[in-house]
């Protein structure tokens, strides 16, 4: 077995024979000629022919895969119409008395250099476009025999690189996935892979050569890995991964856009948890109705010093904008215990799970808390924001947090910074104290969200980091479930809503129980959203 590691462009698993596409690259000789005008005419004819073919390619691509992929061929046409480009080719022909082929290839090289020396990765990637259009002209000037891009049977296409004009000629029914030695994630080849939704890996390295042609391959688009002649263990593991992925895709097809409603008509909202900004894409892909837990601490943990108001604002704004009118519950800083950032300088503690963490840090360092709250309120005008405080045990903590939030709003108002005045504020219910106080707490806040991991740990007095006692850590323990029910009853008595945002929400064996408690919202990892939806839609609470 041989393994190649590249960059994943699109996930999924492809299993099948490898087809290596080798481009016949012609070596361009510097051939001197007698009649420069005739060469210019040859170039002109080839250029016009290339523009015409690009027009046809544009129309075909438009029909096959849509405008986003077709636009590149219009750009290619404009490149061939560019006066700088044309003048360069003509200039080289007349100044040096050389053949059009040489003039085109020298011009292409210069323009490729211009792009590849730019400091922007996207623009560097455009060198491939110059090469592609120039090769199109060259192939008209001196036609070369090209090896077939398409395999006879459905295959994983491998190549050193694929030009946009080559990718669109791929027979989609014969392509299981593709892998290239070079390439950039912003290339049109990558865009196409995403559009047609096949596993694709780029930048697999120079080792990817024609000797793999015809061999069995597995392309893992999740990790960006190509296995050539995989061993049995790898093949079995990959088959399993492929099955799971296909199952998930099928779920998606079946359930996307469908409401989360039981057979007897009870609605529940299924939201997604966000652990990093990269999760936003899969939140939307999996059709979550909102974000039930945005773990803002990742902003702090991914930073080497305290993130500023503006840095935080930009991230919150992006999350809110990407969700539109859908609710986004952002949990304020929950650092401490197992989540650390060095610059916080938190002293070593005997018992960090019960120590300086989450809201306790925020109330001890109000300026730090206010910075985050200001960023949140500033972002509030860009969507449907709710703010949630973690690790609450007492009403005074909520009141103090509210005072700091009011200060943050006052400061924004004084600086004429707009914010929404209807932002919901809620708390995590993750301590037994919060449950016991839930009647009083419900009067103070707009909503509850149960953090099942900590609630289990604190209710059962079982450290969830300690592997030795993991069999005592039972989130389905009746004591935990009764806690949740009590919190739900008290929330509803005060006319407030309650969600569950811990791991337990994804436990579909408990979905029915939760719905019977009247839980209004369940927030799970994006990949579990549709699994929970499926469960909800199969339940009948009237029975």
């Amino acid at each position: 077995m041989k393994t190649f590691k590249g960059i994943s462009v699109f996930s999924g698993v492809a299993i099948g024979p490898l087809h290596f596409y080798r481009r016949e690259t012609q070596s361009i000789e510097r051939r001197e000629i007698q009649d420069p005008q005739a060469e210019i005419a040859r170039f002109e004819a080839a250029r016009q022919e290339a523009i015409k073919k690009l027009g046809e390619l544009h129309d075909k691509t438009l029909a096959d895969v849509g405008e986003a992929n077709a636009a590149i061929f219009e750009i290619h046409q404009m490149m061939l119409d560019d006066l700088d480009y044309i003048e360069s080719v003509r200039g080289i022909i007349t100044a040096q008395n050389v053949a059009a082929e040489y003039a085109v290839s020298a011009t292409a090289e210069n323009f490729e250099k211009m792009f590849s020396s730019m400091d922007d990765a996207y623009m560097r990637g455009r060198a491939a476009d110059v090469k592609d259009v120039s090769e199109r002209v060259l192939s008209i000037l001196s036609p070369v025999k090209r090896c077939s891009l398409n395999a006879d049977v459905p295959s994983i296409i491998a190549s050193d690189d694929l030009a946009p004009s080559e990718t669109v000629q791929l027979d989609k029914s014969k392509v299981l996935g593709f892998v290239t030695a070079e390439g950039s994630t912003t290339s049109h080849t990558s865009i196409l892979a995403r559009t047609i939704g096949i596993p694709a890996v780029i930048g697999a390295g120079d080792g990817l050569t024609a000797d793999i042609d015809g061999k069995q391959g597995i392309l893992d688009g999740f990790t960006g890995t190509l296995y050539v002649e995989p061993d049995e263990g790898t093949a079995a593991a990959m088959k399993k991964k492929q099955d799971e992925y296909l199952h998930e895709r099928a779920l998606l097809e079946e359930l996307k856009g469908k409401p989360n409603v039981t057979i007897d008509g009870r609605r529940v909202q299924v939201f997604a948890n966000v652990t990093s900004i990269d999760d936003l894409g899969s939140v939307i892909k999996n059709d979550a109705e909102g974000i039930g837990l945005f773990r803002s601490e990742f902003i702090y943990m991914g930073s080497s010093s305290y993130p500023t108001v503006d840095e935080q604002f930009a991230i919150y704004k992006r999350a809110l904008e990407s969700m539109g009118a859908r609710k986004v519950v952002i949990r304020t800083l929950d650092i401490g215990a197992d989540k650390q950032a060095a610059y916080f300088d938190l002293p070593h503690e005997q018992n960090p799970a019960m120590g300086m963490r989450a809201i306790r840090i925020c109330l001890e360092r109000p300026e730090l808390f206010k910075t985050q709250l200001k960023a949140l309120y500033m972002a509030s005008v860009f969507g449907n924001l709710s703010i949630m405080f973690p690790m609450i045990t007492s009403t005074w903590e909520v009141e103090e947090a509210f005072r700091i939030a009011a200060q943050a709003r006052d400061e924004l108002a004084r600086a004429n910074v707009p914010f929404r005045s209807d932002v919901e504020t809620g708390i995590m219910v993750e301590t037994p104290a919060a449950v016991m106080m839930s009647r009083e707490l419900a009067d103070l806040v707009d909503f509850f969200s149960v953090g099942s991991n900590d609630l289990t740990q604190y209710t059962l007095a079982v450290d969830r980091q300690n592997q030795k006692i993991s069999r005592f850590f039972d989130p389905r323990h009746p004591a935990v479930l009764r806690m949740i029910k009590m919190a739900a009853d008290n929330a509803h008595a005060a006319g407030k809503w309650i969600g569950i945002c811990g791991e337990l929400g994804a436990d579909t064996a408990l979905t029915e129980e939760f719905l019977r408690y009247g839980i209004d919202e369940i927030s799970v990892s994006a990949s579990s959203v549709l699994r929970v939806r499926k469960k909800v839609r199969s339940l009948d609470l009237s029975k």
Partner: protein, 85 residues
């Protein structure tokens, strides 16, 4: 001669596709249309020239237009930039 400045607000800057549309817009006019970003200068009717500026979000473009239809061209190009970049 007409001249105006524009600060790019599109977070991606001027990518290939908008560059193409911008060149198409400029090509509708007979006037000579030049663009500058810092000490980089280019012709707004030539795609390599526009892409070669490597203009990013926050960069200031200075557009200089001279010719018979310069008023109309200036209005159209400025409107295009505002709407698309």
């Amino acid at each position: 001669m007409k001249e105006f400045s524009y600060v790019i607000t599109d977070k991606e800057g001027i990518h290939a596709r908008p560059a193409g549309l911008l060149v198409k817009e400029a090509a509708k006019f007979a006037s000579d249309i030049k663009v500058a970003k810092g000490d980089k200068r280019g012709d707004l009717k030539r795609i390599f020239s526009v892409m070669g500026l490597g203009a990013k979000c926050g960069d200031t473009l200075t557009v200089t237009i001279s010719g018979a239809d310069e008023d109309a061209a200036a209005a159209a190009v400025e409107a295009f930039l505002k709407a698309n970049m």
